[in-house]
C-alpha cells in the first residue's frame, strides 16, 4: 500500500459553489461535507413525470444528487440506520437529467460508471454541473463511515428503501473521483480512448468465430453463419 502517487485531494462543503466546481480537474479526489440527497428513477419519475412537489424545498435539500440506494434499515422505534452505501450505475438515468437539473438546481451528480461525454456536454455543462464517481466499486464501508446522520427518508413507504429520497448529513464523504469537468470532458472516456488503441492487437492471430453474433453488427438482415 501507499504506492500510488498522491492525487490532488479537495474537500468541498455542500451546497457546492460554481467557483469550487470550476476548479475541479479530471481525476481529482473529492471528499464532501454537508447535505447530499439520493434520487434515481423512482424520485425522478415522481417529480418530473407525475408532477409531485418535492418533499422539501431544494434549498433545504442541497445541490448534490447521489445515485444510490443504501443498505439501510428502519429500526423498531422508527429511526433509520444506514450501514454501507455504494452508488448505482448512472447511465440509466441520463434521460431524466436535463429536466432534473432544471427542476432541482443540482450542480453535482455522484454515481457509478459516469455518463457519456455527450451527456456531459449537452446536459451537464449547460446546467453548470459536474459528475463525481464513487471508487471501486465500491467503497461501501468508507462511504458509510462518512454518513453522520439520516436527516430524512422521503417517500420511504411508497418507493421503498432503494428508491426513496434519502437526505444525508455527511462528513468527509468519499473518496470520490472527478469524472466530468466544467467543460464536459470524461475521465472514463479519456481512459477508454487510450485502452482502445491496444485492443486490435489483442485479437491478432485469433481465428474468426464459427458463428457471428448480433451485437457485433446492428444489421438484422445479415446472416450469423
Amino acid at each position: 500500500m501507499g504506492k500510488a502517487p498522491e492525487r490532488k485531494t479537495v474537500r468541498l462543503k455542500t451546497p457546492v459553489t460554481d467557483e469550487a466546481l470550476a476548479a475541479l480537474e479530471l481525476g481529482d479526489v473529492v471528499y464532501l461535507d454537508g447535505l447530499i440527497y439520493t434520487a434515481r428513477e423512482g424520485v425522478y419519475k415522481k417529480i418530473l413525470a407525475d408532477g409531485a412537489a418535492p418533499p422539501a424545498p431544494f434549498a433545504e435539500l442541497g445541490n448534490v444528487n447521489f445515485h444510490c440506494s443504501p443498505a439501510a434499515v428502519q429500526q423498531e422505534d422508527g429511526s433509520l440506520h444506514v450501514s454501507a452505501v455504494t452508488a448505482t450505475a448512472s447511465f440509466r438515468f441520463s434521460k431524466w437529467m436535463k429536466d432534473w437539473f432544471a427542476a432541482s438546481g443540482a450542480k453535482m451528480v455522484i454515481g457509478k460508471g459516469g455518463m457519456s461525454e455527450e451527456d456531459y456536454k449537452t446536459l451537464f455543462v449547460p446546467a453548470g454541473a459536474v459528475y463525481l464517481t464513487t471508487v471501486g466499486y465500491g467503497t461501501g464501508a468508507l462511504l458509510g463511515r462518512g454518513i453522520k446522520n439520516v436527516k430524512a427518508a422521503h417517500w420511504l413507504d411508497e418507493l421503498g428503501i432503494a428508491q426513496a429520497m434519502w437526505v444525508l448529513e455527511v462528513e468527509k464523504f468519499g473518496p470520490l473521483l472527478v469524472e466530468s469537468d466544467h467543460a464536459g470532458n470524461s475521465l472514463f472516456e479519456r481512459n477508454n480512448r487510450e485502452i482502445n488503441e491496444g485492443i486490435d492487437k489483442l485479437y491478432e492471430g485469433l481465428k474468426k468465430p464459427s458463428l457471428q453474433r448480433f451485437g457485433e453488427t446492428d444489421d438484422r438482415e445479415q446472416e450469423l453463419i
Partner: protein, 320 residues
C-alpha cells in the same frame, strides 16, 4: 443429527462474515495486484478498496452496499441427517436470510422481476437460491453463502468445437473488455468460466467456478490449469485496470470448470465476481460443532467424477 437451530444460526452467521470480512485469499490477491499496478488511477482505486476492507471489518459494516443477490450452496454428506429434513433446512436458510438482512443490515435487493415487489428481506419466489451437492463418506453439512452483484460481468455463448481455444480467448476478451469499461464488472475479479454441459449447466459451472474456488486454486486437469493461467494473463494484458482506468489489474484469478457437452458444441459462460468477493462457509457436524472457513471446497473429486461409479481415488484429500 444436525439441529435445525444450528443450521439457522450457521446460515445467519455466515451472512455477516460474507458481507463484512473479505476472504484472505482474495485480499492477498488484491494486495499483490495493488503492489504491481503501474496505472496511477487503477492503483489509487485498489488502495481505496484495501482501506475499505479494513473499515468494514473494524466497523462491522458491510464492505459494499450492493448486497447482490444473496444465496446458499449446501453440500450434504451422504450420511448427514438434518432435524426436520431438507424442508426444515430450506426454512432455516430463508429465516436466516431475512434476519441477517435486517440485522447487518443488508440492502433488500430482491424484487419481483415484473412488479418490483420488495419484501424488504431478500426473500421471494426462488430467492434465495439454494444449490445442492453431495459428498460420500461424510456426516456433515457445509452451508456456504455468496453475495455476488447481479447486473454486469456475465455472459454466455455457444461456441463450436472448431472455434477451439481461440474461440474461448475471443469470448473471454469480448466479455472482459465490454464489462471492464468504466469498471462495470467491478474488476479486478475472480473470473469463472464454464465450459460445456447444457446451456444451464454451463452457466451454473461458470458461476460456481467464480464464487466457490479461491485465488490460487487450480483445476486438477493440468491442461485446464494451464488455460486458467493463460486466460488470467490475457485479461491482465488488455491494458485496463480497476474501474476501467488504464492499468493491468483485471483478473485476480481465473477458474474453469468443465462438463461433458453435446458433441457438436462447446458452450462457454463467463462470470466476473467483484471487488467485494463475498463468500463464507460453515461446516455443521452432528452434535452441534460448527467450523467456519472461507474456502467452500465445493469442487471435490467426487463432484468432478467422470466414471459410472464412484471410486475414491487413493490420493483423495480427506473430506475435500
Amino acid at each position: 443429527m444436525i439441529s435445525k437451530e444450528a443450521a439457522e444460526q450457521a446460515a445467519y452467521e455466515i451472512m455477516f462474515k460474507a458481507g463484512i470480512d473479505i476472504p484472505d485469499d482474495y485480499l492477498a490477491g488484491i494486495k499483490g495486484m495493488a503492489a504491481a499496478e503501474d496505472g496511477d488511477l487503477s492503483a489509487f482505486v485498489l488502495e481505496a478498496m484495501l482501506e475499505n476492507y479494513e473499515a468494514a471489518s473494524e466497523d462491522r459494516r458491510p464492505m459494499c452496499a450492493d448486497t447482490g443477490v444473496p444465496r446458499y450452496y449446501v453440500k450434504a454428506g451422504n450420511e448427514a441427517k438434518i432435524e426436520g429434513g431438507f424442508i426444515a433446512l430450506e426454512q432455516a436458510l430463508r429465516s436466516a436470510t431475512a434476519r441477517a438482512t435486517h440485522d447487518i443490515p443488508l440492502r433488500p435487493n430482491r424484487v419481483h422481476p415484473l412488479w418490483r415487489t420488495d419484501h424488504n428481506n431478500n426473500i421471494g419466489i426462488n430467492a434465495p437460491e439454494v444449490e445442492y451437492s453431495f459428498e460420500p463418506d461424510a456426516d456433515w453439512v457445509d452451508i456456504t453463502t455468496v453475495h455476488k452483484g447481479g447486473l454486469f460481468g456475465t455472459d454466455y455463448r455457444m461456441l463450436f468445437p472448431g472455434d477451439g481455444i481461440d474461440g474461448i480467448k475471443r469470448f473471454f476478451l469480448d466479455g472482459m473488455i465490454a464489462f471492464g469499461k468504466r469498471g462495470l464488472a467491478c474488476q479486478p475479479a475472480i473470473v469463472g468460466v464454464g465450459l460445456g454441459g447444457s446451456k444451464d449447466t454451463c452457466m451454473v459451472l461458470g458461476k460456481q467456478a467464480a464464487c466457490l474456488r479461491i485465488v490460487g486454486d487450480r483445476n486438477p486437469d493440468p491442461e485446464i490449469a494451464k488455460l486458467e493461467l493463460e486466460l488470467q494473463e490475457l485479461g491482465n494484458s488488455i491494458g485496463m485496470g480497476a474501474m476501467g482506468f488504464v492499468g493491468k489489474s483485471m483478473v485476480v484469478d481465473c477458474h474453469i470448470e468443465a462438463g461433458y457437452t453435446h458433441t457438436g458444441g462447446m458452450p462457454m459462460s463467463l462470470h466476473a465476481f467483484c471487488l467485494s468477493s463475498r463468500r463464507a462457509t460453515m461446516r455443521l457436524h452432528p452434535g452441534g460443532r460448527a467450523e467456519f472457513r472461507t474456502d467452500p471446497t465445493w469442487f471435490t473429486p467426487y463432484m468432478r467424477r467422470e466414471t459410472v461409479s464412484w471410486e475414491k481415488p487413493q490420493s483423495a484429500r480427506q473430506s475435500a
